[in-house]
Amino acid sequence: MITALIRRLVEMLFVMFGISVMVFLIFFATPGSDPAARIAGRNASQETVAQVRLDFGFDKPLPVQYGLMMKRLFVDQDLKSFVNRGQNVVPQVIEATPVTLSLVFGAAVLWVLGGLAVGVVAAAVQGSLLDKGLMVLALIGVSMPVFWFGEVMNLITQARLHDTWMFSWVPALGYKPLTTAPWEWFKTLVIPWITLAVLYIGIYGRVLRANLVEAYQEDFIRTARAKGLSPMRVMLRHALRVSLIPFITMFGLDFGVLVGGSALLTEVVFGLNGIGHLTYTALLNLDLPMILATVIYAAFFVVLANAVVDVLYIFIDPRMREA
């Protein structure tokens, strides 16, 4: 158990190291990315550019630059952005985190409840018209590009129907902190939550229904039903319980990835300055320090979520201890 955990930890470190090296190399392979000229500014003389290159250590060999940057990111924590000069990247990431957490957490509540409802109801009335209807709706949810759905939501709530009673409450795009304006926070996030959750409600509902249907074939359920337990009880106490294992696994992984920045399309469409947005603008600006910080942060959550799910598995399902 302990060795397994340590092995996991070493693997995590390896993966994060690999990613940071990859990002670093991608950056230096990109044309027009010479940070010295961009930092020096427009119409700068060659002497000024050379000076900036020297100051920032861009003349050193790549491995040395990588080492220096990692040291400044983790040890000194004073790594500064190339684009917004003087801006420390670590506080930037820390500042963006609550935005992403608010978005993902709210959406997660919606999609877990929605996914459960869709899956359970559809499985309970399996084969009926309601079941088919729910499954088609779920598939439509899965089939919509999230950025497009977000735009349509914006079009409806911000422009077309904004002046009607239905959506006049929707505030302008952007994030309001929970601590200072909880009600505003809620109102600005409702639409993004729904947008992000729709895809996952579709996926989770479908997976749960499939698992429930499968569970109904298993012996112990048949026994329970034969014993004359109420259908409600069979569903909630027995079938749902076994079917929830893959549900929880999926949730762990999805939550980790989204917190790590994969909600970026939603964040971009709704103007939420979360981790995804931060990573995206950093990538567009070729702001290497910011890219490194955000990508390592993202990788951390992905790897962590994987590890947590693996460990959970060991507890939930003894068979997995072998693998």
């Binding site: 990109t30 044309p31 027009g32 990315s33 010479d34 010295a36 000229a37 961009r38 020096a40 500014g41 427009r42 119409n43 700068a44 003389s45 060659q46 002497e47 000024t48 550019v49 000076q51 900036v52 100051d55 500064k80 684009v83 917004n84 000069r85 003087g86 801006q87 930037q92 500042e95 963006a96 911000q158 302008a172 795009l173 952007g174 994030y175 103007g271 300055n273 567009l284 600006n285 070729l286």
Partner: protein, 559 residues
Amino acid sequence: MSSRSLRLGTTALAGLILASTGAASAADRAADMAAHRGGTMRLVASAAGGTIDPMINYTSQYWQIYQSIYDGLLAFKHTSGAAAFEIVPDLAEALPVASNDGKTLTFKLRQGIKFSNGQPLTTKDVVASFERIFKVSSPTSGTFYAGIVGADACLKAPADCSLKEGVIGDEATGTVTINLVAADPEFFFKLAVPHAVILPADAPAKDVGTEPIAGTGAYKVAAYDPNTQLKLVRNPEFKEWSVDAQPDGFVDEVHYDFGLTEEAGITAIQNGQADWLFDPPPADRLTELGSKYQNQVHINKLMAYWYAPMNTNLAPFNDVRVRQALNYAIDRDAIVGLFGGTALADPTCQILPPSFPGYKPFCSYTADPGEAWSAPDLDKAKELVKASGTAGQKVTIITEDTAVSKAIGTYLQSVLTDLGYEAAVKPISTNIQFTYIQNTNNNVQLSISQWYQDYPAASDFLNVLLSCASFTPGSDASINISGYCNKDLDAKMQAALKLANTDQAAANAEWSKIDAAFMAEAPVAPLFNPKRVDFVSARLGGYTFSSSFQWLFANAWVK
């Protein structure tokens, strides 16, 4: 100055709407002050403008703000329209006395001015500030200020920069003497831009990033976080000494919020939650602003032009006929439409913008050559391409990743296809496009760029953009994007610069000829001169648009 994500644009001329109101008398101003002083103004922008260090920041977004935070020895007059090109003494009592054939300038400092941290302003601060320009490797240190005696050594070894021969302070008399290597008719302008502001002598000799430095202006920076807000409050030490150079402000506080999209910014102003938006309004909102909100919209001409630099060292644009052909073929009206219509831009086929020093209207690349562009001449363009024998070659257009730049690139691609080329458009991130197109290693054939004036002198367009000295192969800092080096015209530009020392008018006449001579060789295809749209809240009054630094927020009120 170039424009970054449309954030860098500076300057304009002749406020169309409020051109005449700038001449408000002192009495009017006192009455306005009594009636409207106080309150908090809320400005919004989609993103912050980077470092708050006034000697390093080179964005019009913050140059506009610095006007009321920092002072140089001289300043552009804080007033509306072209009068804002006038240089007035700011921290200096009067314009300097020139001696030694214009190579020595002597300034007398005003007495009793204090920085916002309480320290009094002395000649020591002035000397230290000029050295700091080099110590922090200010972007213009090697271009604007290289003419100060001792600057060459400072550029080589910034850390030990000493200008003891170049900038000499005399504490007893409160005078500062600046020695130049050669007379420079544009030096006053260079002293009036934010890179030459006077900071306390103990300001850190490095980019301060997000830690504001004390200044002498009407406001001081209370807090700055590039992700959320720039907050300005009144400078407690400030007493108005010259309404032209550093006027007292109306509002008590300015909250400049970042991170709102343009759409959201417009909506916020419509709802009265914000007073002004830095970014240009999105194209699909323009019609609404122009009709429903026309009293809150101010449109002003910018001293700038959008152009397509053609790489004169790469096929097919190494053939002058091809460059001329593209100039003939472009329908500049169509491009004006892409920018938002005739109310927002004027087509042009020359380098200098209208009403700029040395501007003389002409257009040879049009169906009916004369003073103005009328229609494209596609037949002539096709003839020229045929004569050059380059049809069928591949051309790639590098544009910025903004809606307008991409749209213009797509249009040019269409034009080049009509001319018989195999054309492609490649939009790249706005933040790297500007340096990417400059580097000859990237083999860029054709690109879209903009140039906004730093100060009102023809050389700021012609000499900066097209001199041989501005072309450095293999460097990301090579602002002569066309890579066009014409020794003959270079000599003429040097002569015009010299001539300006003695006869500005004659020099300007020379610049007009140089403008035309360049266009005959067509290293660039000028497209249009843009205008600035300011959409302000209903409560905002006292809107003043300076040709030098755009809207002057200190002159506006919200009560």
